[in-house]
Amino acid sequence: MKTIYFDHAATTAVDPRVFAEMEPYFVERYGNPSEIHRLGREGREAVDKGRAQVAAALGAADKEIVFTSGGTEADNLALSGYLQRFEPGHLIVSAIEHPAVMETARFLMRQGWEASFASVDHDGVVDLDAYEAAFRPDTRLASVMFANNVVGTVQPIKELARIAHAHGAAFHTDAVQAVGAMPIDVAELGVDLLSLSGHKLYGPKGIGALFIKRGTRVGPILHGGGHERRLRSGTENVPGIVGLGAALSIAVADLPTEGPRLVALRDRLTAGLIAAIDDTIALGHPTERLPGNVCVSVAYIEGESMVLQLDGKGIAVSSGSACASGSLEPSHVILGMGYRAEEAHGSVRLTLGRENTQDEADYFLEVFPPIVARLREMSPLYVKR
């Protein structure tokens, strides 16, 4: 059976060109970049090149990039690493953050910090007035994700960073979903800290990076041999760094054509779903959203059952329902936008990527409505009209 992969926000396949660049660094060029012999120097050169590629993709300087094991570690380093030099005070995170930020904020609360969770509107955009009102004299950091992983809404990052700075706080953004998917220039945005991950942009798993603006003082959360300018000890993941650099270079080069292509595919799918299935609503901001994110809530049925039925047809999608998430709670993102739990349970997310075609989108629109009809037929909540 042919597989249609509509779950690129979960992870992506490694681009074969990226894999080809990584491959020599496993068996042949395995040197430790900290050593001065030839093998070591080869490793160092590869790390330097990867760092330059990541920096160039973000409009940053090489020295502003610290490699981590992924987005989660980058978020932990941003929050815990930045705040460690202060006496416990106050931080602000949005109510719809990824657990990597949300749970780090809760960890900091257990260390004596106070946190405010900035609310979002019905489209998932941070309420600027409420956000600004949350700042206190002892607010040290605000962290708002660039683009939401569930509903795709993109935040007004430049404005959010400006407000944080006006209140004397630093600004971090978890840009794991956005980097490679949309143009990002850290200088233009004015952010102090930005997290990214390799496996969301056709690079490998196990590698990510934190952009740390020059002059922003961050301390390590991993202690050891002092790698990465003392910020992240541990022998560098050389193949991962090579892969991240290569993947990001390709993504940025492809963006001018790939971005508009995905937007057209996204809007075709969203409009098609709303037209084909009654009592279905689109979630997230209609235009300020990730190019590849389609998120809808289908009334009277539950997300996991839709995911499993589609899986049976060879189509991989995701849901914000409690069951699909593996927790007992439906998506805090969809609830945070003011939707009812039933609406969160009925959510389906399609995240499109490089290999997806219009034919696949059309096939989905052909296959999905009968699945919905069948599940509704089975649902005690559905009354046929």
């Binding site: 009277y300 539950e302 997300g303 059952s305 409690a322 069951c323 005690p380």
Partner: protein
């Protein structure tokens, strides 16, 4: 994460729908929690002659509903009352741990349908006798 048998009952659910002129109906769960199950039964001489379900919920919710209808078809009320949520899960070859509480209520829905039948038949006094402690579970 699901056994083949769970997937089979989810993909090809048995006895979906509502029996006509049901002698008893039972519904359990809450859309807020993500699971609602409704069982309707036909009873003849204290024997379940037909049973159908409607379920809003995840794969486990659908599969347990389907399985319990197979388990009780043709059984006496006393036999049906003996079937527990756990027994349904076991008959399916087990369920993931997080599904055992929220999505494993099909037997409860069935017991509510039996209770409804007995009450409608003017036999409220038999509820405790047939369902035992299960009437309140």
């Amino acid at each position: 994460m699901y056994t083949d048998l769970v997937m089979d009952h989810f993909s090809n659910p048995r006895n979906v729908g509502e029996v006509e002129d049901p002698d008893g109906a039972g519904q359990i769960g809450n859309p807020v929690c993500g699971d609602v199950m409704r069982m309707t039964i036909k009873v003849d001489d204290d024997r379940i002659t037909d049973v159908k379900f409607k379920t809003f919920g995840c794969g486990a919710a659908v599969a347990t509903s389907s399985m319990v209808t197979e388990m009780v078809m043709g059984k006496t009320l006393d036999e049906a009352a003996e079937i527990s949520n756990r027994a349904v899960a076991e008959a399916l070859g087990g369920l993931p741990a997080q599904k055992m509480h929220c999505s494993n209520l099909a037997a409860d829905a069935l017991h509510l349908a039996i209770e409804d039948y007995l009450t409608k038949a003017g036999r409220s006094g038999d509820v405790a006798k047939v369902l035992g402690k299960k009437a309140s579970s």
